[in-house]
Structure formats: C-alpha cells, structure tokens
Symmetry: C2
C-alpha cells in the first residue's frame, strides 16, 4: 500500500523532495530501485521532471517497464518526456511505447524527431503502428487528440452472457475502464451497458434490451473546451467519440479532461493579464520575452495615445500642476474598477455563458455598480481635494471626473467582452491592458476638460 | 436517446433556450411534460435556474420525482434550488429529498430555513435523517462536505462470490458506482476491488487475495482544494474519505471535483482582478458593490500615496509639463509588465508549486525578462521622446525611467507572491491592485527624481 497521502501539503512535497535530495548523493544512487519503489508512478514522474539527464537515465534503467511508461505518460508535457526516450536504445524505448495506451504513446511520439519516431514505430506490430499514426493525425486540442481508441464494446444483438465474456476478454491487459459501449453491426454507437445491468440481467437477455440508450457523445473534431464542458455538465466519467456517421472511434476519460480544464484556466488568467497563452509556466526567459513583449508594445501604443491626450493639456498642467497629481487616482482607481468588472464578466461568459436576452441585464447591473461606487469614491476624492487644496471648485472637478470614469469603467468592462463574444472573438483577448487604456484616456479627458471649463 | 449534443454551442444553447421561450406562451404551458421529456435533467436544471417561480412550480408538478430531484441537485447553488423546495407541500418536498443521494440532500437542506428543514427531515426514516444531519455538520469546503456516504463496500475476508452478490445487492437503487471498497472487520479501509478482479477471479477466492491495496484516501477534514489536487494528480475517478482512525466514511466522485476546480479557478481570477472571492457571478448589484468596494478603497489609498509622491514634484511639473505627459507610459507599461509576471508566478504556484530551491531561479528569470523588455521599451520611449521634443536629455530621462521601472516590475511581480506563499498567505491576494501601486509610485519617483537631477 502506498503511504497515506498526508494531510499537510508540505509533508507531501517533502516526500518527493526527500528522494530528489537523496539522489544527489553518490551513495543513494545505488539504491535508486528501493527509493523509487516507495513512490507512485505519478511521484516518479515528479522526480523525473526535475532531475539531471544522467540521473533520469539511471532511474529508467532500474525500474520495471510498466512503471516507467506510466511515469512518462504522467510527466508534464512542458518538461518534454519525449526527449527522455531519445536517450534510450531504440529497442528499449519501443518496448516502453508498447506498454502505453495508444493515446499516450501518440502524445509522447509527437514530441520526438521524425526519423527517430519512424525507427521506434518500426518495432511495433503493424496494427498498433497504424492506430498510433492515425491518432497523431488529429489536432491536439480536439476530441480526436484526447481520445483513447482502447475501450470495451459489445454488440447490441448479443445475449448478455456473451457480452459478459466479451467484457472479461477485452478487459485483459487494459487499464481501468468505466463504461461498456454498445454498437450495432456498422460499429455505430447505440448505447451503453451499466455494470448493474451486466450483473443483474438474465444470461439470455439481449444486450439491446438491457442497454441504456441515453448516450451522449462528441464528434472527433469537436474542440477540447467543448468536450470538457459537456463532461462537467453531465457528470460523465467517460465520453464516447464518434465520426460524422456516428461510428465509435474512442473514448475520453475524466482525467484527460482535468488536464484540459487546468490548461484552459491557465490560459484564461494569462490572457487576462496580457500574456500570450503560448507562455510555458516553467519556460526560460526567451519564451517569456516572446510571449509578453507583443502585449507590452500594444500597451506602449495605448499609453502613448494617453500621453498624446495629455500633451493637448500641457498649458493647463503648467499653470495648475496640482491637477496632474490627481491623475493616478482618477485613472488608476477607474482602471481597477474596469478590471473588476471585466474579470466577473469574462468568467461568467466562460462558465455559464451570457445569452443575448441577459446581456442587457448584465450591463445594467455593472452600470449600477459603477454609479454607486462612482458616487462614493467621487465624493471621497472631492472632499480630499477640497481639504488639501482649499479649493471647492478643484474638489468638484476631481470628484466629478472620478465618478464619471468609474461609471464608464463599469460600462466598458461589461460591454467590451460581451460584444467581442457576439462577434465571435474570444472575450479573453479584451485583457486588462486594453480596458485600462480606455479608462486612462477617458480619465484624463474628464479631468482636464472639466478643469479647463471650470477653473480657467 | 437524448438528441446528440450538437457541434455548435449556439445550437446547444438554443435547445434549452427554445424551451424557455416556449414556456412563456400560455399555449405551451399545457405541454410542459412533453417539452421537458426532450431534455436531460441537467438541461431541465438550466431551464429551472432561469424561469419565474410560477413556471418553476408548474414544471415541478408535471415531472417524475426522480427527474426533479436530479435536476434540483444539478442546479447552480447560486440560484438557490433549496428555496424551490420551500414552495412545495412538505410531503412533496420530503419525497424529493428522499430520492437524492445523501450528500446532495444535505446540500439542498442547508439552504433552507431551520424550521422547514426540521419539518422535512421529520418525514424521513430516522436512519436517513441521522446520515443527512451528520453530513450537514462537515465544513462545506472539506472532504466531509463533498463526500457521499453511499458506496459499495465488501469485507476483506469474504469469498469472491459473496462479494459479487453483495455488490449486486448494494448497487440496487444506487446511482452509478465506479469503485468497490474493501474494509476489515473494524470498517477500516484496506483496499479496493477492480471489476476485472470481480469478473475474473475464482468464486471461492478470498477478497483479500484479489484486492488491490494501492489505495489512496483523504481525511474527512482535508481541504477541498487538496482533494482536487490529489484526484487530478493520481487520475482517480473516486477517492475514499476516512476518519483519523482510517475508518471509511464515504467517497468523493470526479464530478464533485470538477465543480471544486471551476470554483477555485473563478476565485483565482477574481482575486487577481481585485474582487472578493465571495462575489456571486450571477448576483445582483448589492453583492457586487460589497465585494468590490473594499478593494477600490484600498486602491484609493495606494493611488493617493502615488498622488502624494507627485505633489512633491509640483514645481518640476509646472516648469516642465511635458514630463507629466510621460506618466501614463512609465507607470502604465511597467504596471502591465508587473501584472504579466504576477499572473505567471501565481498560476505556477497554484498548479505545481514553487519549491524553495527553485524560488531564486524564478526570480532571476523574471529579472532577466524585465531587463530585456526594459532595455527594448526604454530605448523606444527614449527615441520617441527625443524625436517629438527635440531634447536628448529628456529622451535619456524617460528612457532610463522606463527601463528601471520594468526591471523592478519583474522583481516585484515574482518576489511578492513567492514571499507571501512562504509566510503562509494566499499569493492570490497580491492582486494586480497592490502590485501596480508599486509600479505607479516607483515610476513617478524614477521619472521626476531623474528629471530634477538631470534637467534642472
């Protein structure tokens, strides 16, 4: 039995951590096998992700094939488990690939150079080679790219006892399975069989009479985000994948979907903060510069526009420099008000969606929030300005600018993502960079136009 | 068979949407039963979430109990499915509660007033009442709050045939199950039985000889975030929950965890944008004002500090107003640089974690990115300033301020969340509001101190 997963996260980390440290001493390296035996393949994957190539090779050489292959399939794609294979003898690498489920094999192989891949595939039986090659053809972020073609299927016109034997036969040498699919003579998906039905029905009963026909499936070219949504919404541990004629091609399991959801959440946060979703969280500086510089350049453009607006008021600023000191308050606070609204709206779109008939309601709500927050903060800023500058007209100007800018922040923060979604653009690109450009520019316009009108 | 989930999300929405619209016409209301029959309980939940009380009641009155109870358990907690119960006669409401899994029943009951809850519970058999009452005692965000006490268990010293009979007996009237747990005489968890073992072993074989002992479990008071991490990391469809003496109390299924992950991702994005995680995405304006105003007030404080810094340079601004036009560029672009770094660092902490020995590496990387982006953008800003103002010293000042501020942005964006995590504070509270306050203040200090030193 694996050690119980301890309560404190720190203990848990230190278990893998302990092994990592031990591996650094020459002495421990001769005991790799016993060290690793205490770890779950997922934990071995964590160790592999984070040790030097020489030690990785030593670990691989000492563990049973089925453990290594499971660990490889659990490694974070960003740590390039595929390149580990290229450092092994081809026969050894090929034997590891054979242990894997075809979808995991295809994922690993797609990471290594073409010629070495061909070489490894030449060790596989023709049939398996064909399956893996086919899987590599599907786009990575579609149902086809996620599915595993290994699954348990029975025919609708079999008697139950034959189906049970078929399930036992097919389950040999297979990982866990959660659903038994039922197909017709043309391999079209017509239902699924629950374990309960399989246990409880009479032996002679035909599968079609005991199967459940409420089967939900996805098409092979459906987007992975759509797949994740359906599995979450309908609470499905597995989801069958069919082609355009409803022929069963494979199944996606809940654990594939957990990875998709984590990936999408990372992308959402990065997009929101103005980082390209291609940024690898563990990548080097070059990857980060490449994924962030374009957004900073866009921001340089929007900020320069704000600077241009300000330059139109240079005379006002010269003759009343105190106005400039209010710029970070008027633009900054409203910028954050817009960011708040944007976050709530973008998240709502990406979880439940905002149907057309609700869009106006959402915008009105954000307008109301903007008005209330605007009135309160506007009043505070006005009182502060009057108090420190002993000028009630200045107080009125900055208070009004603050209030107006927060109201517009609420409108922009909700309207922009809703409109983008309507026209088919991912609302996540309305990152805070773009939305705060609006509040900067509008804030300066409010502040200095009002000041020009009232104070001069 | 339910209609196939269509490829386009818009079609899918319109199916529920079509029913919603039909429900508005008097004519269709007499056909609620047939309308609803075309929908999956999850879709009925979507309709219920979004219709007026009168129509909700009509729908409830016309559907079979097991469909209603499933739909109620699928409704978004934020739409208060519990209050729907309070509008039904107590016998009817109680009969719906009886249909539910105990964990879903406890969730629903915890939303309704104490006296009505007592009344409903009085209709239940004593045993069920006790189970539900016990479940309501666990904190909502712990393993105990998520678990379902209904599961299939067999004893380690049973022969396989008895175990199989036990599984068939226990699975009557139960929702899907995915794992058969094995306990000892004291109800302590000792392993699990795969279906494969159950199908393939000899009838007389003892369960303890065919069970799998690699069982991973969580404690009843473990945090839901920790539970989600373990299920995702070890790819588990169900996770057993035990007490401090390893006695089996219940199980958590992957679909509970999908909800937790969605909830946590929402919290992360909201925190990041300076919105309290209590904000209900579909809530009204009052809820939003309450969850956002405190952060705006904090922001008013940080922005006022920036304004105070600026007020120290009023003379410089008066005599050289062009400097003020560069404020949005120096402060804004670096603010976004800091936000980018913060998003990548916070997300990395919340997915893989950043162990101590890697912290310095992360900070150095962000420093490098800051230096490179700083040099590039600093040069651009300098050239722009020289070109438009025909003053090379001004160009040097703004270029240098831009570069220095972007470098500090990289340092702050990575160091602040890492340090917060070390001292046990959720790094998500280092929202962009706080981090951009730094870059505002530092940017103004760089710009105007340099200008004072060089240009006057």
């Amino acid at each position: 039995m694996y050690e119980f997963v301890p309560k404190e996260k720190t203990h848990k980390l230190s278990k893998v951590e302990r092994v990592r440290r031990l591996l650094k001493s020459e002495n421990a390296q001769s005991h790799i096998r016993s060290l690793m035996r205490a770890l779950h393949p997922t934990e071995i994957a964590q160790v592999l992700e984070d040790t030097k190539p020489e030690i990785q090779e030593k670990i691989l050489r000492q563990l049973p094939k089925e453990v290594i292959s499971e660990a490889l399939s659990e490694m974070d794609e960003e740590t390039h488990p595929g390149t580990l294979l290229t450092r092994l003898r081809p026969e050894v690498a090929a034997s590891l690939i054979k242990e894997l489920a075809p979808d995991d094999a295809a994922d690993l192989l797609s990471q290594i150079p073409e010629d070495y891949k061909e070489q490894l595939l030449s060790y596989m039986p023709d049939e398996e080679e064909e399956v893996i090659n086919q899987l590599m053809e599907y786009e990575e972020d579609t149902a086809g790219g996620l599915m595993n073609p290994e699954m348990i299927t029975v025919k609708a016109d079999m008697p139950k006892l034959d189906a049970l034997r078929e399930v036992v036969r097919q389950s040999e040498g297979m990982e866990d399975f959660y659903t038994i699919y039922v197909v017709d003579e043309e391999n079209r998906l017509v239902g699924y069989l629950t374990f309960k039905a399989l246990f409880q029905a009479r032996n002679s009963e035909l599968v079609r009479n005991i199967m459940n026909t409420d089967v939900i499936s996805v098409r092979v070219d459906d987007d992975q985000e759509e797949v994740a949504k359906i599995m979450a919404q309908y609470n499905l541990p597995t989801l069958p994948v069919v082609d355009h004629e409803n022929r069963l091609l494979g199944r996606i399991t809940f654990d594939d979907i957990l990875d998709v959801i984590e990936e999408e959440s990372t992308e959402d946060l990065l997009n929101f903060a103005g980082v390209s979703e291609d940024e690898n969280l563990r990548g080097g500086w070059a990857n980060s510069v490449k994924s962030r510089l374009p957004w900073l350049l866009i921001n340089l453009g929007t900020a320069s526009t704000a600077a241009f607006v300000l330059s139109q008021f240079e005379e006002v600023i010269s003759s009343m420099a105190v106005l400039a000191t209010f710029m970070p308050i008027i633009a900054g606070v409203a910028g954050n008000g817009a960011t708040q609204t944007l976050a709530v709206t973008v998240r709502r779109i990406s979880t439940d969606g905002i149907p057309s008939r609700k869009a106006l309601g959402v915008i009105f709500k954000e307008l109301a929030v903007g008005i209330i927050n605007g009135l309160m903060l506007g009043a505070m800023v006005a009182i502060g300005a009057m108090y420190f500058n002993e000028d009630y007209r200045l107080g009125a100007v900055v208070g009004f600018a603050m209030c107006a800018n927060l109201i517009l922040a609420g409108l922009m923060g909700s309207m922009v993502p809703i409109l983008l979604e309507r026209v088919g653009v991912d609302p996540a690109v309305a990152s805070s960079i773009l939305i705060t450009a609006f509040t900067d520019i509008l804030g300066y316009l409010f502040l200095f136009s009002l000041a020009t009108a009232v104070l001069f």
